[in-house]
């Protein structure tokens, strides 16, 4: 599950990373956003959306994506 701040919501972590980049010689990078990733093993992925809505993400302030890696160890 990839969880990131919703567009339009001030993301101070992303801003701080973005401001630090030029000093390290990384030019031309913008719109940096910092979110979080949750990895888990599940037999039946059907309820993962509900899991994101109820706990892993706060839908008011965050968007989420579910990425399925079949056969992951």
């Amino acid at each position: 599950m990839l969880i990131r701040p919703k567009e339009g919501i001030l993301d101070p972590q992303g801003k701080a990373v973005e401001r630090a980049l030029p000093a390290l010689g990384f030019e031309g990078i913008e719109h940096v956003h910092v979110g979080r990733m949750v990895e888990l093993d599940v037999e039946d992925p059907e309820r993962l959306g509900e899991l994101c809505e109820k706990l892993l993400a706060n839908p008011l302030i965050e968007d989420y994506e579910i990425e399925q890696l079949d056969g992951a160890a």
């Binding site: 919501i9 001030l10 101070p12 972590q13 701080a16 706990l55 706060n58 008011l60």
Partner: protein, 225 residues
């Protein structure tokens, strides 16, 4: 007035909250997070701290505790509930209050005494029989994730309904909160949450007793069930 003060693993302001309830003339006891029974309790405080380590998001895990289930039912039946700091975050995560609390704009933990403007409560008369319906309160704030956020249309509705319970005084917004909002209440008026800590402002020794006013307002906000 019998207060129940919730205690999660990671709570740290529950003792001051107990003392504040007692100083206001009430009785108070702790309610452990696994407890589900609020029998005999007239008002609930969800105190500050770092419940469950604030893992995932502040308040996200605490809202699933048995005690919070009980608080949800208590609030639905009109019982007065006060959420302070982490408690405010828990109430927002639980959907008992609108909005969310985000990382401070500065990305730094802030700790300072500041002034709050009390919003219209509708239930508490102005102090001193005064003409003014609002009052300024000196109360400390200490938090890293206190930036109040709600979509603009929600903020408009909160203002229209008189649900902005507390604002930071002009120029004192410590975290980038939308419209200087420090605390909100639900539509019914019986659930209130704020980021600053009224329980730390109840003794002249520490500079202000304005925090008692917040507890009084909550006690008065119970909706007759």
């Amino acid at each position: 007035m019998r207060w129940g003060v919730l205690q999660f693993p990671g709570s740290c302001d529950e003792r001051d909250a107990l003392a504040a309830c007692e100083r206001g003339g009430g009785e108070a006891r702790l309610v452990w997070h696994e407890e589900r029974d609020l029998a005999g309790i007239d008002a609930v405080v969800v105190p500050g701290g770092f419940s469950y380590g604030d893992y995932l998001r502040a308040g996200a895990i605490a809202r699933f505790s048995p005690a919070m289930e009980a608080v949800g039912e208590f609030a639905a039946s009109g019982g007065p509930v006060l959420g302070i700091c982490n408690g405010f975050q828990v109430l927002c995560e639980a959907g008992l209050l609108p909005g969310a609390l985000l990382l401070n704009e500065s990305m730094r933990f802030t700790c300072r005494q500041l002034d709050l403007i009390e919003g219209p409560s509708g239930r508490l008369p102005p102090l001193g029989g005064g003409q003014s319906t609002t009052r300024q309160l000196s109360i400390p704030a200490k938090h890293g994730e206190g930036r109040y956020y709600a979509p603009d249309e929600v903020l408009d509705a909160l203002e229209a309904n008189g649900q902005i319970a507390y604002r930071y005084a002009p120029g004192q917004n410590p975290n980038g909160s939308a419209r200087d909002i420090a605390g909100v209440r639900n539509e019914a008026g019986n659930v209130v949450g704020l980021m600053p800590h009224p329980e730390h402002a109840v003794d002249p020794l520490t500079g202000s007793t304005d925090g008692l006013r917040v507890f009084e307002a909550v006690a008065a906000a119970g909706v007759a069930a």
